[in-house]
Every structure is written in structure tokens, then in C-alpha cells.
Amino acid sequence: MSVLTLTAQEEVSAPPRVVFGLFGAGAGAGWVFDAVCDRVAPGAAVTLRAPLDPAGEPVEILGRIGTLRPGRLIEIVHDQPWRGRTVLRFAAHGSGTRVRLQSELDQPGFEWLLRRRGHALRSSPGENPALGLLTSKSGPGNLFAAASDNMATLALEEINADGGLRGRPVDLVIGDDATDPATGAREARRLAAAGCRTILVATTSATFVAVSEAMVDTDVLLVQTLMNEGGIDDALRIQLGERPAAQLAAAAGPMMRSAGGHRWFLAGNDYCWPRRTHAVARELLPRLGGRLVGERFAPLGTTDFADVIEAVERSGADVALSTFVGADAAAFQRQCHEHGLHHRCLTLAPAMDESTLARIGAGATAGLHTVSGYVETLDTDGNCALLSRYRQRFGRWAPPLSTLSESVFEGAHIWFAATVRAGTDDPRSVARAMHDARFDLPRGTVTLDGNGLVGQRIHVSEAVGTELRVITPG
């Protein structure tokens, strides 16, 4: 892949050892050195807040620390909003230090920046068939989507290595909803104009609903790959992924047994998926022996959860059902841990994923549980093979896989299997071919019945450090 490399250099009046020590120390040393990370060590998750838009919020560059040579070099391998490496080199210069920065910008990153800066880029169909991916490269959803385009890239490389669609390679076209439904709708229209007849949507349900409405007059198949509340009835809409009723039915018993109590507090972001999940919980949990003791919502993008945490504490809950997502989920969990909430109650967070866990940090995940059809540590042959191909292709510092990002890999393969079954990539035929079908995927067997209802094994998992480990057989 072709990359542009940008460089910057600065002379600092302190020796390299001192300047190096400023990195990640929150010392007010500018946005590059004030990177947010728990520790400066290889593999540590790191967030850089780049002031790319002076009028708006900083753009978060998410990655991990790669190579580290104390006093000499820090390498940041980043995935969002584009893939690349940013390297800081420290060299003695007189009695001070010369700091040299090199940052890579690849072609997708360059195009993302052009759009972000408001430059209109034409979208016209290319020569090859195209598959769209609508994901969140910015905004609070950038965390859970960190590996989503890697997953789509890997799936299409496999599909193309097998001959592609009728002998033609399939191009991937990626859109960024910026974790905002209206932006998502605009981006979906752009992907359609670029020739995508099917778009995989791996965003919040709020975006999927908005895209679904915005595209109502177009002949484009929209496939929501990740967990969702369902409920959209249309021949050109497929909702894969875990559903709240199946997740709660699987997790309620094990959670109450582990917690040694049955009082539940529901807390989450204020949009359709958390609201629907809570509605299912209010109906289902009492039937399974649970008792509801409180409920709170906070808008997506909330950073201070003190009120919510205090309410959970006062309620005396044994289990908190957390339906926060992305950066909100990370902030909520960290703040719960600071308050010591894990000593009093367990948390079940269905949308918690490994990439978000990496941001929370190994020291603040005690008591956290999730319920999903996939975790990165899932011990299936298909998953071991996938992980090996993923690491080989994207390197050891690429973001972890999770049920949210891995669903994109599966969505692409399900789409391709359906085009083969249908003998065409016509959206209506492909949608029909996805029904009454079974697919052998890394998470195991996934079925789609005639009504589009997904069948898959659901696992309850516990956070151990930044990993999720299955604690119940599905």
C-alpha cells in the first residue's frame, strides 16, 4: 500500500531521557506527547487527540505502542481513523534533544482527511463489483469499530483469491458515519453512488435505522452485521448479530448466581438499541427471578458518569446491566472501578468488546461480563485459523477482534456465499439467498431462517485483564 510520510522536527532544551519521559505523562506537552495511555510500554493502548478541526472536537487517533527504545524511540501503530505508524525519534543535540516525528498517511487515510476537510470527492462506480462497509472511524464508536475494516479487507482478499465475483475482484468501499446517524445516511448514499449494491453496516443501530430510512427508495441491500434489536421488516434489510432476548436469557441466570443476588440496575446510552434491550430486560428478568431496582440513560458521547454510578450504588443492585457502547462504555467502566463498584456488584455489558477493554486497561475490568456469539479467545478451529490469518496480515499490534468487528468478516462471507447461491449480486436475489441458510463461520454455525431470524450459540464471558473468557457453555 502506498503511503505518504509527513515529518516534523523540534529542538527541545532538555536531554533525550527527560524529553522521552514527557511522553504519556500528561505534562501539557502538546497533543502528540500528551497521548493518553496507562503505561508507556509495547502493546499499551494509546489515544492521540489531534486538533485537525480547529472549530470542532479533536480527531482521535487510536493505536498501540509498538517498538519502544527508552530515550530514543517511540513507535505508535494506529488503526483509526487510518492505518499507519507514527514514530518519534529522540537524538542528543547539544545539551538538548532533537525530536523528529514521522507519520504515515495511506490512501484511505488521505481520502478520509479530504472528506473530513470538506472536499467533495466524486463517487462513481469503478470497473469491479463493489461491497460497501459503513463503519465508525471517528466519534465514540471508533473504539468498537477499530478492527472492522481490517475484517472486511481480510474477507474480500480471501474472496478475491478464490476468483472473486464471476472472475472479477470485489472492491471494498468504506464509509465513516462518525458515530452520527445523519452522517451515516450521507455516507451510505455515497457508497451506493460508488456502485455498492450491498452495504455491510457495522455501526450503532441508531445509524442503521437512519440509513435504512434514507435508502428506502434505492435498490441497495443493507446488512447490519453486529448485535442489534431487530425489528426492521423489509426484503432489502438483513439484521445479523445477537438479539437482546437471546443474550439476556443466556446471561441472567449465570449473572445472578455469580453475584449472589437478583437485583438489577439498567444503565445505558440513550438510543434505540439500549432502549430496546432495557425493554426486553424489564419483561424478561422478573420472569427469570430478577428484580429491577433502577434505570438510567445518558446520551452517547457522555464522559462523566458520576450521577449514574451514584444511582447504581444507592439502589443496592447486585448486577448492573450496562448498555453503554464504545468510548462511553470505556469511561463508564473506568469510573465504576474508581468508585469501587466492583466490590458491590457485577456488570453485564452485552456490547462490551475486546477493543474497548484494551482502552479500559487490565486494572479496571474486574467484575465485568459480557454475552455474545463470539469472543477473541473462542476455541474453535475456525477462530484459531482466522486469528492466525489476521495477525499475519495486519501484525501483532493490530486491534483485537471482537463479536462486533468479527461480524464484519462473517457478513462479507455470508454476502459472498449468497451471491454464489443466487448466481448474481442483484440485491433482492442476494437477500433471498441469505434466508433459509446455514453458514459455517469462525464463531460456529450461524443460521438464518425464512424470516431472517439468526441462530447462533451465545456465550457468557468474563473479563480477565483485557481478554474475554467464556464461562458458560453456550
Binding site: R17, L22, A29, G30
Partner: protein, 135 residues
């Protein structure tokens, strides 16, 4: 500047490579550019430059029988590259402000704290070359 044309112009790896070289240098003669771009011949570099020029990504200055090229200062590519350069530069400029006062007067304890930049540090220097990157 026509963004549609720019999009097409950037679809080619050689043209991206040319742009990367020009982004590093203020201005580059056609001869110097052809020396840097080794993946294709001189004639091909010229025709790629023409495409970049028409797309508004690159501007041309003639001086006698020489032609000089630079990233078009009015174009969107320039805007993006300039903003990124600026953001990274200002990101480093604040480092001085955070240096503890006591350190500024201190004599460095060891000259081995730093190493010359030419020393191989195990991390490949980024280059603007086209080609597959190691994963």
C-alpha cells in the same frame, strides 16, 4: 481545483508517489523528480505529472528550459497535507513548555542518552516509496 479529477489522479500508485515526493520538497525539477521515481521511466513520469497538473494537485513553473513542480497551493491535497504538517508541528512545539525548569540548567548526565539519527534503531525509516508494506 477539481476534486473529482483529483480522486481519479490519486488512484495511480506512481502519481501518489510523485505527490509524496513533492509533499516533502518545496519544489522539484522534472529531472530531479524522474531520478526519485524509479518505478517507471522519465516519459511516464512526465505524463503522470500532466495528469496531476490537470487535476489541480500539482502546479508547474517554467524557468528557461527547466520545469519545476510543487503541490498545488490552492488544491485540496495541499490543504490536507498543510493541515497535517501544521498539526504535527504545533504538537511538537509545546514540548519545550513542559520541560521541568530544573532540567534546563542541568548538565546532561550521560552523553549516551541520545544516539545519532543515522544509527539503525530497528524501526524501518518511512519512505515515500510505493510498494507493499510489511504487515
Amino acid at each position: 481545483m477539481n476534486s473529482d479529477l483529483a480522486f481519479d489522479a490519486l488512484a495511480d500508485p506512481v502519481r501518489r508517489e510523485i505527490l509524496a515526493v513533492l509533499a516533502e520538497t518545496e519544489e522539484c525539477s522534472s529531472g530531479a523528480l524522474a531520478e526519485r521515481i524509479t518505478s517507471v521511466g522519465r516519459t511516464a513520469v512526465s505524463s503522470h505529472l500532466r495528469v496531476l497538473k490537470i487535476a489541480g494537485l500539482v502546479s508547474e513553473r517554467r524557468a528557461g528550459r527547466f520545469r519545476y513542480y510543487s503541490v498545488d497551493p490552492s488544491g485540496s491535497a495541499k490543504d490536507v497535507l498543510a493541515v497535517l504538517h501544521q498539526v504535527f508541528r504545533t504538537g511538537l512545539q509545546s514540548v519545550n513548555d513542559a520541560v521541568p525548569e530544573s532540567v534546563n540548567d542541568a548538565v546532561p548526565e550521560s552523553v549516551n542518552d541520545g544516539v545519532p539519527e543515522s544509527v539503525n534503531d530497528g524501526v524501518p525509516e518511512s519512505t515515500a516509496e510505493s510498494g507493499d508494506r510489511p504487515a
